[in-house]
Symmetry: C2
């Protein structure tokens, strides 16, 4: 089977590709799929870093272009694609700076992609990555779930809700077999901070572990749902594999999450790091970021995702240990 990952050069995209390669195939509807023959990683530009060996892997090809260019998107389907992971997106903070870009990439891009998949007429398996930023607004309950009305307070979140709606309708019409994975904040992202308003949530682990300070732009009491990247990847794959009948008419599923305060995240880092020297957390509120984060859900009830068998780590400390293993002590991938 051929797999396409948009946003495939990003952190989540690369790790998703690595996990697919490790598995060799998917377990679609409980049955082993044909072996993976190619993974096409499409992205807008060369990434800051490639995970070791990924780009050179014989089953991996790359393509760089603009997903808001319809002809480019069509060109990704020169070979038949059997499963698509649509991760490409303008992120939250960036979308607040540039509404038109967010609309072009996140909405027009998704539509071009979904139309190209539909044109294959092969009931392609599709996972679209949504976000807890799909929730928001003055009527948002303290705890959100798969049954909570989505009234986002960022353009990013708005385009994510639209993506979920399109996935449901394209699936209902039989144009493809889609699912939406609603992601909590992913920790710990390696590399550099990005324009996501939640970027500091990875930074608060990553920078101190590198012996560097990290500015915390929100109150330590700020609650947010978070999940480790291994569970994010495994959850996205699991959601692709489930039979459609397990999902019902609403194919948008919140991945499991820890509902933790920023203080709890900082404490977990200290617990996990043991005697290691850590860079400092510098409390320096940024009203713009604090406002965006305060407008997101504080807590997620992810009972549905858990009952569908989507995974989560046992603790935030475990997530930190995984990050150290994968990125810092040289034993991981």
């Amino acid at each position: 089977m051929n797999i396409l990952i948009t946003g495939g050069a990003g952190f989540v995209g690369q790790r998703l590709a690595m996990e697919c390669l490790k598995r060799g195939n998917l377990e679609l509807d409980g049955k082993p799929s044909p072996a993976i023959t190619n993974i096409l990683l499409a992205d807008n530009a060369e990434p800051p870093f490639w995970h070791d060996g990924l780009r050179e892997h014989e089953l991996v090809t790359t393509s760089f272009g603009d997903i808001s260019d319809e002809a480019y998107v069509k060109s990704l389907f020169n070979e038949e694609i059997h499963a698509v992971f649509h991760l490409a997106s303008i992120v939250s903070g960036h979308g607040e700076q540039d509404f038109d870009l967010a609309m072009r990439v996140n909405l027009d891009g998704a539509r071009y992609l979904f139309e190209a998949i539909r044109a294959q007429k092969n009931n392609c398996r599709v996972v679209f990555t949504s976000s807890v930023a799909a929730f928001g607004g003055d009527a948002m309950p303290e705890t959100v779930s798969d049954y909570t009305k989505q009234t986002p307070m960022t353009t990013y979140g708005m385009t994510k809700v639209i993506g979920e709606l399109l996935v449901n309708d394209y699936s209902r019409k039989g144009f493809f077999d889609g699912r939406s994975a609603r992601l909590p904040t992913v920790i710990v992202r390696p590399g550099k901070p990005n324009l996501a308003a939640s970027s500091f949530v990875s930074g608060l682990f990553r920078e101190p572990l590198n012996g560097e300070p990290c500015v915390i732009p929100v109150d330590p009491s700020q609650l947010m749902p978070v999940l480790g990247y291994r569970s994010i990847i495994n959850g996205i794959i699991k959601l692709a594999e489930l039979p459609a009948t397990d999902l019902g008419s609403d194919r948008g599923v919140g991945l499991p999450a820890f509902n933790a305060t920023v203080q709890e995240l900082m404490d977990a880092l200290k617990n996990a790091a043991g005697n290691q020297h850590l860079g400092e957390h510098v409390m320096e509120k940024d009203e713009t970021i604090a406002k965006i984060c305060a407008g997101w859900p504080q807590q997620a009830d992810t009972t549905r995702g858990l009952s569908l068998g989507l995974p989560m780590e046992s603790s935030i400390e475990e997530i930190v240990h995984c990050y150290i293993e994968d990125y810092l002590d040289g034993t991981g991938s």
Copy 2:
């Protein structure tokens, strides 16, 4: 002030224009607006009928074109527009037949319109008409409200939810001052049946009052939220007039509605018609229409709309009397 009504040649569009002309201005945020100087009725084609005197009114102009043509939409803004009522839409049954047309007209069309309004930079007042078809799916509660997750089961409903999301985000960004009026089934539409799956709900009053039979394609026990067209029009105008601060971050408001069974609607007709001879109701189930209607909300809790002062008739019989007055006995407009 200049007003644009898309779908302006339709039944609701024409009556909305007539009501605006009768009032002479709007009461925006509780203050009288400047007098209405022009109402531009834009639609895709000449309608089957014009209400008496509307087309010839000195303050009315008409424009016919395709709202999914960006250049056409821009041409509607040659004069500055101060309030827009966006009613144009492919209806539910039609959208199920032609997905691509529904996407072009309902989604692309809305985006072209919203961008043209934004380009004016005049904080234009905008009302978008959504629908109870915005709700649906296997997790839909028996009673829906402004706080219910919108998981539509028609392409029409899906595009309506997207419209509500766009109105919220364009308003949040300050591109215009928008509101979405979520309409229940409108009764009693005059004229001919249309491609809306709910078309028979007007037919069950209209045809018998004309001495003609009406086929009822659903079970008489089918529940649905309905509202008379006078309250629909007055509700849309009231929603345009309210201060944004009354609405909060979610500007989508369900108009008040009667939750009635089809049997109750047929009974109300008989009560209202008195001794008048009526054409028959012919029970003849159409599985396609029955399925679409059964997938819509059975009951709407419209407490929020009512508390915002949106109107409703005192009974379904009153709605029938209004229809007779307006369209049958020659005393109405």
